[in-house]
Symmetry: C2
Subunit: 325 residues, 2 copies
């Protein structure tokens, strides 16, 4: 299996064909940054139209079995997630509704404080809120995975403790490798892995050592060191690929409706848009380079398969439905 | 199988237990009269809480196989429908979304003109609108059944012609038996049946000959005459039971937000609330009386099974999913 545990592209037939060239059996796509419930549903409608237009390339995925069907039929199963809990508004009943609509991952925060927890850009992280505790329990009940990719350290560690099921970081890298605000410290990684969870390593240049100039060897060595330290079973890919997006989209991601100012997030005034991808991961076909690069730093073929998708596939099987269903 | 193809009760454990006493394997419940999309979702959330609280009595049904599971596990499968297209707002993409949320029936109108067609209380019925044609095609595609219970004659006959799949009247009776505005003329019934569709006979007093005083024999004789005229395969029950509802609910059904006046619908100023049920159908357990009554007017045991649920079960099997899925 090959699985990319996070993308947010400007989707098109071209990209869906690249998924096939990359042998991606499943991709987790973001369908909300700041959308409320109704706006998120409009994004689902857009995906339904993609599924209707390109049935030979893609279909909606909701279970691990869908990843297997995708592999067997030469297509890609598309899994949905939110990078912000905004689509559930202030209504815990929407947790089960969005799961019924097929959503499988929800970040408790984007970069800011939410109703549930704190984002990694907040000066103070108060941990998991009262509603946050209730929502984590409901997410655990229905099989909606807690994703803390953009959350603060305290919130993440508390979420790992509170959650009765594994939590994940779908897209980030170790802070020790590249000290970006969004990359994760050892204590955060340990908490996530102790919960039984996973990390998806990011190919977003701001998360890479050397940014756009990061080498395949440097990235794969980081993967190997993390595997050695924490165990290969916790490791996958979440590329954070934002292919073909106009700069207006990065502004929506960073600013939403929460400020009248411009916030540059991981960018800067001098470089406000999307940074250039490393030349070995310009699109999903970079998975083929990763396959070679991981072998070259000493992973066995079986371990490469685990990292490029089999670990996420196992995680999907165990975490996408109610415990007793 | 026993299936009631329409109820709108003030649900409670008492009513769910009566469903079991009535041996109801499935009930189609109305979850919207005038609600917009978000308000309808709140009603779905309420049902999710019922399912969580009473798992030994009820579960959410979306396929004919769920009716069989219900029978085999001694529970009742609850199917969702709208009596008005208000939850899809002006957005055709919501047709597939509501189907994905489990909705299986949608009336193109309640009593008034809608974006799609005309209701039976309108002085002029212009038939199916431009959007109505588009929505019928989309409903056909995804497997959302067109229900014309409250629509005007022209709209109903046109819907039967336009729809590529069978349309239904979930709850009404023949106009020839009792000339209520909501009951259906022969040409309407013929159009529905020629589409391959069904009628669910109503036990709502305003639809009954003699209203609250209607006898079991009169009702069952009407069923027999309809079966003789059109074929028993088109016939089921849609009781329109509104059990334990306060009068404020009948006002919401009739008035919604469309007028500042009071509209009495099938009632009157002197009798604005819910009428009394006939004593042989005070709640779902009336199905047991119907079983006896239908045998007494000459139906065979196998025919009684068809009328009390097997016909609807066949209809569910053929009409609740995309044609090629």
């Amino acid at each position: 299996m090959r699985i990319d545990a996070l993308q947010y592209c400007n989707y098109s037939e071209k990209i869906f064909r690249q998924w096939r060239e990359a042998q991606l059996d499943a991709v987790h796509v973001t369908i909300a940054y700041h959308e409320n419930f109704r706006e998120m549903v409009a994004n689902l409608e857009e995906w339904n139209r993609y599924f209707e237009r390109f049935p030979s390339l893609i279909f909606k995925g909701t279970t691990a079995a869908d990843v297997e069907s995708a592999r067997d039929s030469g297509r890609t199963a598309v899994f949905f997630g939110f990078q912000n809990p905004s689509p559930i508004e202030d209504d815990i009943g929407l947790v089960e509704i969005v799961h019924q609509l097929g959503v499988r991952f929800m970040q408790l925060t984007y970069n800011n404080q939410s109703l549930l927890a704190s984002g990694c850009y907040e000066p103070v992280d108060a941990g998991i809120s009262r509603m946050g505790k209730e929502v984590i329990a409901e997410m655990n009940r229905v099989g909606l995975v807690v994703d803390m990719s953009h959350s603060g350290n305290r919130s993440t560690i508390e979420a790992a403790e509170i959650s009765s099921r594994p939590i994940v970081i779908t897209h980030a890298n170790p802070h020790a490798w590249h000290p970006a605000l969004r990359n994760k410290s050892d204590d955060v990684l340990r908490a996530v892995f102790q919960s039984g969870g996973m990390i998806g390593f990011s190919l977003y240049p701001h998360h890479l050592k050397g940014k756009s100039d990061c080498t395949l060897e440097s990235f794969c060595t980081m993967v190997a060191q993390t595997a050695e330290k924490y165990g290969v079973e916790h490791i996958g890919i979440g590329s954070d690929l934002c292919q073909d997006q106009p700069d207006s989209v990065v502004e929506w991601m960073r600013v939403g409706r929460w400020t009248k100012q411009i916030d540059f997030g991981e960018g800067s005034k001098a470089a406000p848009g999307f940074p250039a991808q490393p030349e070995w991961f310009e699109d999903s076909r970079g998975f083929n380079h990763l396959h070679r690069g991981l072998l070259e730093v000493g992973f066995s073929a079986a371990e490469v398969d685990l990292v490029l998708g089999d670990n996420w596939h196992r995680f999907f099987r165990e975490n996408f439905s109610a415990i007793n269903s």
